[in-house]
Structures are given as C-alpha cells and as structure tokens.
C-alpha cells in the first residue's frame, strides 16, 4: 500500500467542482508529479492532503491512517511537510530561524522551559542548530544562514521554503511549484535535489508546470484536468497519452 492514498476525493467551491472523485497514491522513495492545465485542481489536492481543506467526499490515508479532515498541524505532526505556491516565509526571520521553526514537531520545549531557560531548551537549541547547519550546507544556504530570508533573491527564498519543510524530517514532502520563477539552471538543481531525497526514501509529491523537469525527474506522473484524473503512469507513457495532449493543446488554444 502507498504511503499516501487519496480515495475518491471531491471538493466543491460553491457550484464549482474543483476535484471530482480523485484517487491516487504516493509511494516512499519516488517522485510523483501532479500536472495539469491551470485550474485543474492541483493546489486544491495538495490542500486536501495537508489538511488546509476538508474534502466534501472521499478519504485521505497516510500510512494507512485515515487523516481526512484532520487539522493542518496534526497532519504535519505525522510527517507531512509542504511548501506554498505563493511563498509563505516568516517576515523578519533569518534563514536559520526558518529551519529551526521547521523542527517544531521534533522538539518539546514549553513556554515555561523557554522563559526559565531550563536544560531542555539548551539541549534542543544545540541539536536544532547542528541539524539546521547540516541542512543549510546541503541546500547551499550556509553563506546566508543569518540573513533575513526576505533579503534573498527569489530563487533562494524558494529553497528556504523547501528547507523549512525538510527541517521537520518529513516522510512525505508536498511541493507546490517549487521551480516557479526559477532559472533553468536553478530548476535543474531542484530536480537533482528531489532525486537525491527520493533516493533516501522520502516520498515526494510535486506540483509542477515545468514539463522538462517533470519528464526527467519524476517516477510517476498524475494528470489532472478539470478536477478529474485523466491519466497516470510513468512519464514517457503519459507524455504520449492522447487525452493528455488534448488537455494541454486545449489550454493553449484557449
């Protein structure tokens, strides 16, 4: 059974059906790409999986556990991390602080322990610093660790979001257009990072517009159109699917 299973999920906004009976799975150690024309429901699906939205019908199972309708923080607590299409960085925080916040679910220091500076605070700060320094080097952000994230160029801000998600040591990583606004070289860099993460056993669900990236770096592709899964399979198979071609050509013609 897949790590994440989406079963027959339907979401309606007013009269509009954003997702219509969507079923799919995401496996550990693989990069699964979710593609489709604008408005196909990709971000909506990510929001359902991460607990931002409650589906009108259908179930979401993570590690076999029914997490449908769970609040966001509880889903995150199980090891589901995500990034956002429109960057959601924390105002004045430095890059390192973003990663430390990312470790929230792994740490326990309470208000009282923090105010009184009890031992757990120091222990967890030390662990957090070491872990985030390692992650910062890995993402190539070590040189700007103490910069406010808002001062970085756009491409590196996207990396900070990925870093914050990875800092929580997730088993499922949801990425909402991580390469939007990135140069070709930067996007390649992200693609290679995703391959390495998958090789370490992480399950990656990637919403992506960059077709080259999807074709060269994903193991499995799910195509959404108007809230319906119209095709899924390995990249080369999906690429030649007539329905998929039509969906994309239709968009360009419009």
């Amino acid at each position: 059974m897949s790590l994440l299973q989406v079963e027959d999920v339907t979401v309606e906004f007013g009269g509009l059906r954003a997702l219509d009976g969507v079923s799919m799975g995401v496996d550990a150690g693989r990069v699964t790409a979710l593609i489709g024309p604008n408005g196909a429901g990709k971000t909506t699906l990510l929001n359902v999986v991460s607990g931002v939205l409650r589906p009108g019908r259908g179930r979401v199972r993570f590690r076999g556990r029914d997490v449908t309708g769970w609040p966001q923080h509880r889903v995150a607590g199980l090891g589901v991390a995500r990034t956002f299409q429109n960057l959601q960085l924390f105002g004045q925080m430095t890059v390192r602080e973003h990663l430390l916040v990312g470790r929230y679910r792994l740490t326990r220091t309470s208000f009282l322990e923090a105010v009184l500076r009890l031992p757990r605070h120091f222990r967890e700060e030390k662990e957090g610093r070491e872990a985030s320094d390692a992650l910062l080097s890995r993402l190539g952000l070590a040189d700007v660790a103490d910069w406010p994230a808002s001062a970085l160029p756009y491409g590196r801000q996207r990396l900070v979001e990925v870093g914050r998600a990875l800092a929580s040591e997730p088993s499922l990583l949801l990425l909402d257009e991580p390469t939007a606004g990135l140069s070709g070289a930067e996007a390649e860099e992200v693609g290679r990072l995703l391959r390495r993460l998958a090789a370490e056993g992480l399950a990656v669900l990637l919403v992506e517009h960059h077709m080259d990236l999807v074709m060269s770096y994903s193991d499995w592709v799910v195509v959404l159109d108007h809230g319906v899964v119209i095709a899924q399979g390995p990249p080369e198979q999906v690429q030649s699917d007539p329905q998929v071609i039509e969906a994309y050509l239709g968009e360009e013609a419009a």
Binding site: V52, H73, A76, F84, L89, M93, V101, R105, F111, H121
Partner: protein, 346 residues
C-alpha cells in the same frame, strides 16, 4: 554584535537611571509627578502583555484592562480581607487571569475580524459591570481599600521610590522573560504564527492553541502589573479597569510598536506624559474644562505615530541603534537589507 546585543539592556538601564534621577524632583517638574513614574512602569508591564498578544496573535484586544483589574482585585481581596501574603495573592491573580484569558481565547479565536475586537470589548465591559455591581465582594462603585504594602522578606515597599524600584525590577523581569521566550522554540512559533498562520500550521504549530497561550501570557503580565498597582494605591475601584484604561493600553502598545517587547515601556512613557500634559494644559486654555481630554491626545499620538513611524517608537529606536552600530563599525557582515534591524531588538 556587541553593541546591538547590549543596546536593549543599556536602554533599560538608561531609562531606569533617568527615572531614579528624576524621582526626587519629579513633583517640581511640569507634566510629571512621582506617582507618574511608578504608573509609567506599571503600565509598561501591562502593555507588554498586550504587545505580545497584538504582535503575535494578531489580535486587537479592547479588554486588556480587565486582566489588569483581575490582578488588582485579587490582590485587594486576598491581602486586605483574608491576609494572604502579597506574593501569593499576586500569583493567584496571575493564575485566574491566565485561566480567564484561555477560556475567552477559546471562544474568541474561532471568530474573525471585527468580531474578535468586539468579543474582547464585551469581556472588558462585563468585567467592569461585575466589579461595579457585586457590592458584597468588591465594594461596588466605592471600591475596596485597606490594601497593605507589598513586602518581600524584610523589604517593605511603602514609598514612591521603593515602588518605583520594584516596578522597574518587575519590568526588567518581564522583558527578560519575553526575550527568552522569543529566542526559543515556543517564541519562534509565535513569531511564525504572527507572520503566516498557514505556514506555521504546515510545520505542526497548533495555531489556535498557541494563540490561546499567548493571550493567557499577556493576561499574566497585565495581572501582575495590576497587583502591584493595588499595593501602590492601596485602594481599587472599577473606573481604573474600564474601557478608557483598555484603550490606553492599546495606545501604549501601538505607539511603542508591536514588533518589539521594548515598545511597551517607550509607549508608556509617551502616554503618561500625554495624560499629565493634557490634564495640566487643557484647563489653562479652556476654562472649566474637566473630563478625560487625554483621550484626544491619545488619538492624536496614535495618528501621528501610525503616519510617520508605523513600526512604533521601538521600530524607530531600532533604526537608531542599527545606525549607531554601523557607525561604531561592529557589524561583521555586509548588510543584506534594512530588514535586519528588528531582529536583535526583540
């Protein structure tokens, strides 16, 4: 690093020192009395709690004075009527305030926008009415008196000067506690939540619970200040905890700046001067003027600050400190942007 790290403490020590120097001559100075110096510190403590609530829970509270009142009344009743130790009464007040705030938070944080402000306003008014009407317990409109001096072992705080020292010590503790909090796991969660709730939740932060916690924490600051206030004036009555005092805390926090816990003492100084200034000046120009003209001054100060210093006085001060640090050449790395300035002052 050095200068910026110590600047906040230097700021505290400077303000404290000025106060100590002013104390003997305060009554002779315009717009200042000894009592004002004490009130300034007490309001600074209470407003610091509101700064945490506004800055991080993103919640405007129009009922903060009620928590100040919870501390004051708890202290009044427990020390004057049943002879508890002041410290114990203060702790009891803080617990009651925290529990009330958590309960209120549970309801209020389900609401959005204006409803939030309305609910806190209602809470403040209900507290005021209950204190005024529950004659047998609170003495109603007359209030309740006979509150003994605050004592700590052999120390007795029975004068303006000693109360001033005590209030400033508590203010320092409040600042240190807030700083410790903000540079730790739960504090970073607060900052994250204040900045993007959806992103905070995405790393496992329970936003509703965290808001409740910061609301309770803010109430504890107010309650502790209220307890000290009760010992200082030895008498409490409902007027000190109604709508106008709640608005005053709001003005203190906003004028001081809600990005930084140092905003509250700065805002408090401004508001004390404004209050006293209007009280002394208005009758000189408007014959027979009585009533709360300070509210006009509050409004004016609020508009001016929001126009010219949107991050409050603390934001402006942070900029000055940064400039000073640059001038002293202690900055180790190239400045990425101006956004760095606030981080250190928290």
């Amino acid at each position: 690093m050095g200068l910026r790290r110590w600047a906040p403490l230097a700021l505290w020590a400077g303000a404290f020192g000025v106060g100590v120097l002013l104390m003997p001559i305060a009554d002779a100075l315009p717009f200042l009395t000894r009592a004002n110096l004490v009130v300034f510190a007490l309001h600074g403590i209470a407003a610091m709690g509101l700064t945490l609530v506004m800055g991080f829970a993103g919640q405007v509270s129009l009922g903060h004075a009620a928590f100040y009142g919870v501390g004051a009344y708890t202290t009044a009743l427990l020390t004057a009527k049943v002879d508890w130790h002041p410290l114990l009464a203060m702790a009891a007040g803080a617990v009651i305030a925290a529990v009330l705030a958590a309960l209120l938070g549970r309801i209020v944080f389900r609401l959005r926008g204006h409803f939030l402000a309305m609910a806190t306003l209602a809470f403040g008014l209900v507290f005021y009415v209950v204190m005024r009407s529950w004659d047998s317990l609170t003495g109603g409109n007359q209030g309740t008196g006979g509150i003994p001096d605050f004592t700590l072992g052999p120390l007795r705080f029975d004068s303006d000067t000693s109360m001033y020292l005590l209030a400033w010590a508590v203010l320092l503790l409040g600042l240190i506690a807030a700083r410790n909090l903000l540079s730790s796991r739960p504090g970073r969660a607060l900052v994250a939540m204040g900045s993007s709730e959806v992103a905070a939740a995405s790393v496992g932060i329970d936003v509703a619970r965290t808001k409740m916690a910061v609301f309770a924490l803010g109430a504890v600051y107010a309650s502790v200040a209220g307890s000290l206030y009760a010992h200082y004036v030895t008498y409490v009555s409902p007027e000190s905890f109604g709508l106008l005092p709640s608005l005053r805390f709001l003005v203190i926090s906003t004028v001081g700046g809600i990005d930084s816990v140092w905003g509250a003492p700065l805002g408090s100084a401004v508001v004390v001067l404004l209050t006293e200034g209007t009280r002394e000046l208005v009758p000189r120009f408007v014959s027979g003027a009585t009533g709360s003209y300070e509210i006009v001054a509050y409004g004016l100060a609020l508009v001016l600050v929001l126009l010219f210093l949107p991050r409050g006085l603390a934001g402006g001060a942070a900029l000055l400190v940064r400039r000073a640090a640059e001038w002293a050449g202690t900055r180790r790395q190239p400045a990425p942007t101006a956004a760095l300035e606030e981080v250190e002052l928290r």
